[in-house]
């Protein structure tokens, strides 16, 4: 593929006009915490409905919220991970609206004074790095869950999720393509997993996003009118929604119509966005500071303590991998993208060759994980055994080719590679005398081909290697076979 086309901006082409897509994300990330933002109820996923609900979560009369300090720490930690300003004073507000799964009749959120201010995230795109601005991060309570499909006549409400801490991470409108959205979400998730502040599990709803989309003609400097697509819960759906929504907006412009600022829903089945409410119908949330909670003030010392707990983050780790292990930026990006992968990698290279380890992890191991749909933390082959295998290749005990056979065997029960080699007799034949013997046999059995080779048919060399390898039952040391064959045939 022509590299230039790959590096092209994401544009939507129409007759005579190219459109640029402007995207901003409001990511809702569930804070990793055993208890809720303002109560001591458990946050464990998958419990029986309404078994993790305190009097506070269910908004009983006279019940009061008390801030969970751990959630505050988690938000600050995330803010530091996003290279963002930590606000020493922030305020919890009430966002007032009625809904059956909102017991208080308001959500406690941070409106004017969020706990984290501006920051930035670096994306590794195929054509280089891109910086995406973070507008803010604030803490808020999750609502309960309304279930409409169990009882034919009633909506059921599960309050287990009610009051669970969420971080809303608002990006600047810096994203320009579905690919960038993909990389941005993955990067955010990676940072939060490194920090242990959000598990990023999209199936369980730990990470969801509201997607703001607008379009403009290439070259325009003003933003177009944006629409917000609410609550999209997978990267694939975000990308589909963006493409649909951008095209919908462009259709309107092309037909001389205007775009209404509104909130829309993405219908995953029909692959289209639908209007949910217009700007005129927008809720008046009547935000005001929650009088049950004093403004949240954190000291420099509190922040510094958290800062001292920050582990090496993906960007730093990548830099270290490139500098220390001489990895290519591409390899380093892959290996640091997930904290568990990077841990696995560092475990393997403790005792094994870096280059081989990189190739085996990103090649064979990733293929197996992909195939079996496993995380690296569930890898069927332990880092210890993989490093053993790599050392057996490195010291010539087995060839790369045999190693693949051994690797296949190892998958079943994380077997020790040495044992597989011993049991199956796969050890590489590296005795020059034995190799010479079997080469002699090959030369003898193929006298005609030898004549052809000697008369100039150089390509036949490969044939002889193959025969010799076959004669060794695949165990012959390839370098040795090459060397001795050359001596014999050319000598």
């Amino acid at each position: 593929m022509d590299l230039m086309t790959e590096m092209k901006d994401f544009l939507i082409e129409r007759e005579n006009t190219s459109y640029e897509v402007i995207i901003g994300l409001e990511v809702h990330a569930q804070v990793t915490s055993n208890s809720k933002l303002f109560s001591s109820s458990s946050t464990k996923f998958g419990a029986e409905p309404n078994t993790q609900v305190s009097l506070v979560d269910a908004a009983f009369p006279g019940m009061l919220p008390v801030i969970n300090e751990y959630c505050i720490k988690q938000a600050i930690k995330t803010g530091i991970g996003l290279n963002a300003k930590i606000n020493k004073k922030s305020v919890f507000d009430r966002k007032n609206y009625f809904y059956a799964d909102l017991p208080q009749g308001y959500q406690i959120s941070q409106y004017k004074y969020p706990i984290v201010g501006e920051g930035k995230v670096i994306l590794d795109m195929p054509n280089g790095q891109k910086e995406v601005g973070i507008e803010r991060l604030h803490l808020e309570q999750d609502a309960g869950k309304s279930i409409h499909d169990i009882d034919p006549n009633n909506t059921l409400v599960d309050l287990n999720r009610s009051g669970v801490a969420l971080m809303e991470i608002v990006s600047k409108p810096d994203l320009r393509s579905p690919d960038e959205v993909n990389v941005y979400i993955k990067k955010l998730r990676s940072i939060m997993r490194y920090l242990g502040t959000c598990d990023g599990n999209m199936q369980e709803g730990s990470l969801r996003a509201d997607v703001n989309v607008s379009v403009r003609k290439v070259g325009a400097t003003e933003f177009g009118t944006r629409c917000e697509i609410k609550n999209v819960n997978s990267i694939k759906f975000m990308q589909m929604a963006i493409i649909h929504e951008a095209n919908r907006q462009i259709d309107l412009i092309e037909n001389g119509k205007s775009i209404d600022q509104e909130t829309r829903l993405f219908d995953t089945k029909k692959n289209e966005t639908r209007s949910m409410r217009s700007k005129e119908d927008a809720h008046d949330y009547r935000y005001f500071p929650d009088p049950d909670l004093l403004p949240l003030e954190v000291s420099d010392k509190f922040i510094d303590n958290i800062r001292s707990e920050i582990p090496e983050l993906p960007d730093e780790k990548k830099k270290r991998f490139i500098e220390k292990f001489k990895l290519t930026p591409y390899e380093a990006t892959i290996l640091v993208s997930d904290i568990e992968t990077s841990k696995y990698f560092e475990e393997v290279i403790k005792e094994a060759d870096v280059k081989l380890s990189t190739n085996w992890i990103t090649g064979e191991l990733f293929a197996v994980l992909n195939d079996k749909n496993l995380d690296i933390s569930q890898s069927p082959i332990s880092a210890k055994n993989l490093s053993k295998l790599i050392n057996l290749i490195k010291d010539g005990t087995i060839s790369g080719k045999i190693a693949k056979t051994v690797f296949e065997e190892m998958i079943d029960g994380d077997k020790d590679p040495q044992k597989i080699i011993d049991t199956k007799g796969l050890k590489q034949q590296s005795d020059p005398k034995a190799i010479e013997e079997l080469i002699n046999k090959v030369i003898k059995n193929n006298a005609e081909k030898v004549t052809e080779y000697k008369s100039g048919k150089d390509k036949l060399f490969g044939f002889f290697v193959g025969q010799a390898m076959k004669e060794s039952k695949g165990k012959g040391n390839p370098q040795l076979i090459n060397k001795i064959l050359k001596e014999k045939l050319n000598g």
């Binding site: 006279g62 009061l64 008390v66 005001f288 009088p291």
Partner: protein, 484 residues
């Protein structure tokens, strides 16, 4: 000797400790009088039989170390009580039985108190006459068809009528001090953050405080000591060193500087109130304290500020009463219809009025002009007091601009009703402690109160001033038991 129910808390405690009375005797005496006083409509829920059981239990194994040893106490029905219906005076909570206890009532039971019953109050504590209660008007024992004040009207009536030795109320804009003033009793609103709000049905979170209502200042100090505590379950609770208010109580206030704010001489204030205030000033001087004229320049703005801030918070606090989880529900065609019917039928007029005011002042486009402005003015009102306290130790004002009025007299005129709180509201806005003590009678023989406002966390000083004035005033309530 006078009957048990006429005694003060302090006297009853002494008699119990000296084994002159048993808890059962005392409890039965108050129950008997309560049974005879149903006409006052002070109770929403009676807990009499279980109170007697508790009293018997106490007598079997008495603990005289406690501050309220086997003392029966009826409380305002705004405090959640475990297993006992808690209504907040509203239809919407008519069937609500909490499975938890408010910290303030818990403190009382821990010191040996026994729940006698739950007392009537204005719906969600919104009112100054107890006329907004779903459970009907309460009569002031001072006179038939006279309001007992509000919102702690059941509390003040029960106390003045000797149905309970002491009681507790809540005060958001005057709801302890004004009914105390109307019934010739003592009521104290502590500094915001002194008494935990945990388990108290919320009206306006930044203003609500629980406080003691008693027959005299000594009792007030005893009960404050019991109910004031730091509570981690209330984020606005403050961890300060609390006095042993009753043992530190003294009538020596020599050299204390008492401020008289000129702005409290409001237009149309009856001469009787003016005279009462003057009398109070003289008593204070007699006690050896110094009187200093001061200015609280933003006083005029307190009432409008209060009637923005309190309804704003209330509109949000009362959103939880939606028929979904507990309390009254009216069936609807759909969710919105159910909300509308439940809240239209479940809330009374005054509560709905305040929810609408509160919703309005928080609405986008009005927020800055009302709510935000009110918050700024609130800071100015607080600063007025801060400045005054650089010069004085406490401030003396009338408690209310009038004595108790007739039931129905002001119920069609919310503004004139709101004016009742004119002297009490600034204290809530500034988060200060304030006590109302009975100081005299008007021409009808109705009680009038004086208010002493203190520095934050300095309940001791206002108690001491009240204590020394109480001696001089030697107030006697004029109650004829007309309802029995």
């Amino acid at each position: 000797m006078s009957s048990i129910t006429e005694l003060s808390l302090n006297e009853i405690v002494s008699n119990i400790k000296s084994k002159k009375f048993s808890s059962t005797e005392v409890t039965k005496a108050f129950i008997e009088r309560s049974e005879k006083s149903k006409k006052l409509n002070a109770y929403v829920t009676e807990n009499f039989s279980s109170a007697i059981d508790c009293a018997k239990k106490f007598d079997e194994k008495p603990n005289y170390e406690l501050k309220l040893p086997g003392i029966p106490i009826a409380v305002k029905d705004l405090f959640c009580t475990n297993g006992i219906k808690t209504t907040a005076g509203s239809k919407i909570l008519n069937n609500f039985i909490p499975a938890y206890e408010s910290t303030v009532t818990q403190n009382i039971w821990q010191q040996g108190g026994i729940l006698l019953g739950k007392l009537n109050c204005d719906e969600f504590a919104m009112g100054s006459s107890n006329e907004t209660s779903f459970f009907g008007n309460v009569h002031n024992p001072i006179g038939e068809n006279l309001v007992p004040g509000g919102s702690s009207g059941g509390s003040s009536a029960a106390l003045a009528a000797n149905l309970t030795p002491v009681t507790i109320g809540t005060d958001t804009g005057g709801s302890i001090r004004q009914p105390a003033s109307f019934t010739g009793t003592v009521g104290l609103k502590p500094t915001y953050g002194s008494c935990s709000r945990y388990g108290i049905v919320a009206f306006a979170s930044s203003l609500d405080q629980a406080g003691p209502m008693t027959k005299n200042v000594k009792d007030c100090a005893i009960l404050l000591e019991v109910i004031s505590s730091f509570d981690k379950k209330d984020s606005t609770s403050i961890d300060f060193k609390r006095n042993n208010y009753s043992s530190e109580l003294t009538n020596n206030i020599k050299g204390k500087k008492i401020g008289i704010p000129k702005e409290y001489r409001v237009d149309g204030m009856p001469q009787e109130i003016e005279n009462l205030w003057k009398k109070g000033i003289e008593f204070i001087k007699d006690c050896g304290a110094e009187i200093i004229d001061i200015s609280l320049p933003h006083t005029n703005y307190a009432l409008p500020t209060y009637y923005i801030v309190a309804p704003a918070e209330a509109s949000s606090n009362l959103a939880r009463y939606d028929g979904v989880k507990y309390g009254f529900r009216s069936a609807g065609e759909n969710l919105i219809d159910m909300y509308e019917k439940t809240r239209s039928e479940g809330f009374g007029e005054e509560v709905k009025r305040r929810i609408m005011i509160g919703t309005y002042v928080l609405s986008s486009g009005y927020y800055d002009a009302y709510y935000l402005k009110a918050q700024k003015v609130r800071q100015l009102i607080k600063k007025d007091f801060d400045d005054a306290y650089k010069i004085v130790d406490a401030i003396l004002t009338p408690s209310t601009p009038s004595s108790a009025f007739k039931i129905g007299e002001k119920s069609d005129d919310p503004v004139s009703m709101y004016l009742n709180d004119i002297f009490t509201v600034p204290v809530n806005l500034a988060g200060l402690p304030g006590i109302s003590i009975p100081a005299g009678l008007d021409k009808n023989g109705y009680p009038l109160g004086l208010q002493i406002i203190g520095k934050p966390f300095d309940e001791q000083t206002i108690l001491n001033i009240a204590y020394s004035m109480e001696e001089k005033i030697n107030f006697k309530n004029n109650i004829s038991d007309w309802w029995i």
